[in-house]
């Protein structure tokens, strides 16, 4: 037990085993009725026939999944080939969300760590400093970010006036702008869980490591990081998953030139296409993809737990 906790792995115990059904009941009920039931309905929709211009006809059909995975040409009558269009869209989104997550981790981890090592009385102030900007609506933040970054915007003006650059840096409508937007959208989701974990970390372990002549960076990697892993994982999930389906940052900062998963799905429900079963099917593919990623996380986690015994 002590070893498990000291290494910071999940200290799963059974203190409340007898009450666990009661403890889980509220989340089962609320999520079961208001999230799971609608999602199951979408799963059913993905196997129905599309009604022209939105809606479904209650008739079993695999057309939505067929459209996702097979390319039958512009007129739908050529022999089926693998359809790369949607796979590419998924790959692009995954890549963007991954890059945004890494960016958030690189900035968010030191920030969370720094905050958690302040005097106890000022820590809440730092935490609030991180969340205050999020009282302003995401759309407003993204639009003002766009205003700031544009070729003739304040950032470029400032950099040019200082003589650091000669011509404006072109950021708007690039992949980097999208990543920056995603990073900006979800940063507290990275910082807060890591903060909550580091705050709990027992620094005497770092001291012990230092006594054994471990360098500080080795200590960080070998001692601190494993100890706060649950917080880091939680942060990465909270940034990566919403980024995957988001379309505000890609549309506004990336110029909407290419579909991301989020905008592809949105288009099926409120765009010209109006193909609900296909939108539902794409969502189900996304859902299974995320589930698989989370399961891999969970499995590694429990493996690590076992190894630490």
């Amino acid at each position: 037990m002590a070893a498990g906790a000291a290494s910071g792995g999940s200290a799963t115990t059974d203190t409340y085993a007898s009450a666990r059904n009661l403890l889980l009941l509220p989340s089962w009920v609320i999520l079961g009725i208001f999230v799971l039931a609608p999602v199951i309905m979408m799963l059913i929709y993905s196997f129905l026939t599309k009604e022209f211009r939105g809606g479904v006809i209650w008739q079993f059909s695999l057309a939505a999944y067929d459209q996702f995975f097979f390319d039958r040409g512009l007129f739908g009558d050529e022999p089926a080939k693998i359809e790369w269009t949607y796979i590419n869209i998924f790959w692009r989104s995954t890549w963007q969300a991954g890059a945004a997550t890494i960016l958030s981790l690189l900035i968010g981890f030191p920030t969370a760590y720094f905050i958690a090592t302040r005097e106890e009385s000022v820590r809440p102030i730092w935490v609030f400093l991180i969340t205050i900007p999020y009282w302003v609506n995401l759309l407003i933040r993204t639009v003002s970010m766009k205003f700031l970054l544009r070729d003739e915007g304040p950032l470029n003006d400032f950099l040019m006036s200082t003589g650091l650059i000669d011509s404006p840096i072109h950021i708007i409508n690039t992949n980097f702008a999208v990543q920056l937007g995603l990073f900006y959208s979800y940063l507290p989701f990275m910082v807060l869980p890591i903060y909550a974990a580091v705050e709990r970390y027992n620094f005497s372990m770092s001291e012990a490591a230092a006594d054994l002549y471990a360098s500080k960076w080795v200590t960080l990697r070998r001692i601190v990081l494993p100890a706060i892993k649950p917080g880091v994982i939680a942060g990465c999930i909270l940034v990566f998953v919403p980024s995957l389906g988001s379309f505000l940052a890609p549309d506004l900062l990336g110029g909407a030139k290419n579909f991301m998963i989020g905008s592809l799905i949105e288009e099926q429900f409120k765009g010209n296409a109006g193909n609900w079963p296909f939108g539902a099917a794409a969502s189900m593919v996304l859902l299974s993809m995320v589930l698989i990623i989370l399961m891999i996380f969970a499995r590694q986690q429990s493996k690590a737990d076992k190894a630490e015994g």
């Binding site: 939105g54 512009l74 007129f75 549309d251 110029g255 030139k257 765009g271």
Partner: protein, 345 residues
């Protein structure tokens, strides 16, 4: 007295706003964002005592999706564009306005009294109409702008400086005009040509922004932008080198219409609202606010003088004809959807 009315109306709005159920003296409008001056709604309430609840949407298709998902029966009127009126009629979402129900029906301008998208104005009245083409920053390009090649096969200096509307219908319609082919073609070679042309054109485009179509032009992010005429007029007010084009190949014309929705909870009040909007003075107030044209006889007398002479509202000599977006059948539409996906994949 008017102030008292206003205050009590506001207080009433606060107390009952949470409950949108049908009641005496209420009207629930499903409308575009920022498309009706608040003062006009207040005037309607002051004249009729009917309290208006407004809900908004940002595209014809978003409204259709919401109504299809079950919101039909909670709204009295909506304001779909031309092609969406025929789609909604086909879906059975519209109620018929009986003969003589609308006292002001005669005010509808003759050219808008029997449009193809709603023969005989069975369920709708005109709201605003205008055109969609594109504007060019003449400081960046001094050549001929009244040509759809500016968008689809641009000169080198404009390549990469073009914003398109993120709207399948309008892009496809202009692209068809550019190639001189019908909008709902079933000819395979023409469709393949359209697909290929758009694939080439895409390389020249910087972004797809609809809501910020004006902003990206004013800020200088792009030098060419697909845009609506009223929006272009507002853009020119902020940056005078922007010029709206009337291409020789033609351009898109649209009309938004107030429709009576099926199962409207306050049908009588909806009719009153439509009558109110058919008063020349009232609909002119919308035009003065939105910078588009009314479709009501006599409204011209109440318009801002400058609206009549707006370059964006008056096609230049030699321009092609304005065309409405056509509604394709399911099979044809599937091909156009595929072409659009190819553009954005």
């Amino acid at each position: 007295m008017k102030n008292l009315l206003k205050t009590s109306a506001a207080a009433l709005a606060l107390t009952v706003a949470a409950n949108a159920a049908a009641a005496e003296g209420k009207l629930v409008v499903y409308h575009w964002f920022e498309y009706m001056p608040a003062e006009l709604l207040e005037k309607f309430t002051a004249e009729t005592g009917i309290e208006v609840t407004m809900d908004t949407y940002d595209s014809n298709e978003a409204m259709l999706a919401s109504l299809k998902a079950g919101a039909l029966g909670t709204y009295d009127v909506a304001v779909p564009g031309d092609y969406m009126v025929s789609i909604m009629a086909g879906e059975g979402m519209l109620d018929t306005i009986g003969d003589g129900e609308l006292a002001n029906k005669g005010n509808i301008a003759p050219e808008w009294a029997d449009p193809a998208f709603d023969p005989g104005r069975a369920s709708s009245i005109p709201y605003q109409w205008g055109s969609t083409s594109f504007a060019v920053n003449t400081a960046a390009y001094s050549g001929e702008i009244n040509d759809t090649s500016i968008l689809f096969d641009p000169p080198a200096e404009l390549s990469g400086k073009i914003n398109m509307l993120d709207s399948q219908g309008e892009v496809m319609a202009l692209a068809s005009l550019h190639l001189g082919i019908p909008q709902c073609s079933t000819d395979r070679d023409l469709l393949k040509g359209l697909n290929a042309m758009l694939q080439d054109a895409k390389g020249h485009w910087a972004s797809f922004n609809s809501d910020t179509a004006k902003e990206v032009m004013v800020s200088g992010d792009v030098d060419v932008g697909m845009i609506y005429d009223g929006f272009a007029a507002k853009a020119r007010a902020e940056k005078e080198t922007l010029k709206y084009a009337f291409p020789a190949q033609g351009y898109v014309v649209w009309m938004d219409n107030v429709v009576l929705l099926k199962d409207a909870p306050n049908r009588e009040n909806a009719i009153k609202f439509m009558d109110f909007l058919l008063e020349p003075e009232n609909i002119a107030a919308v035009s003065n606010y939105a910078r588009y044209a009314p479709g009501v006889t006599g409204a011209a007398d109440h318009l801002d003088p400058e609206l009549a002479t707006l370059p964006e509202a008056n096609p230049t000599p030699g321009s092609g004809a304005g065309v409405f977006i056509e509604v394709c059948d399911e099979q044809t539409q599937a091909v156009y959807d595929q072409i659009w996906t190819n553009v954005k994949k």
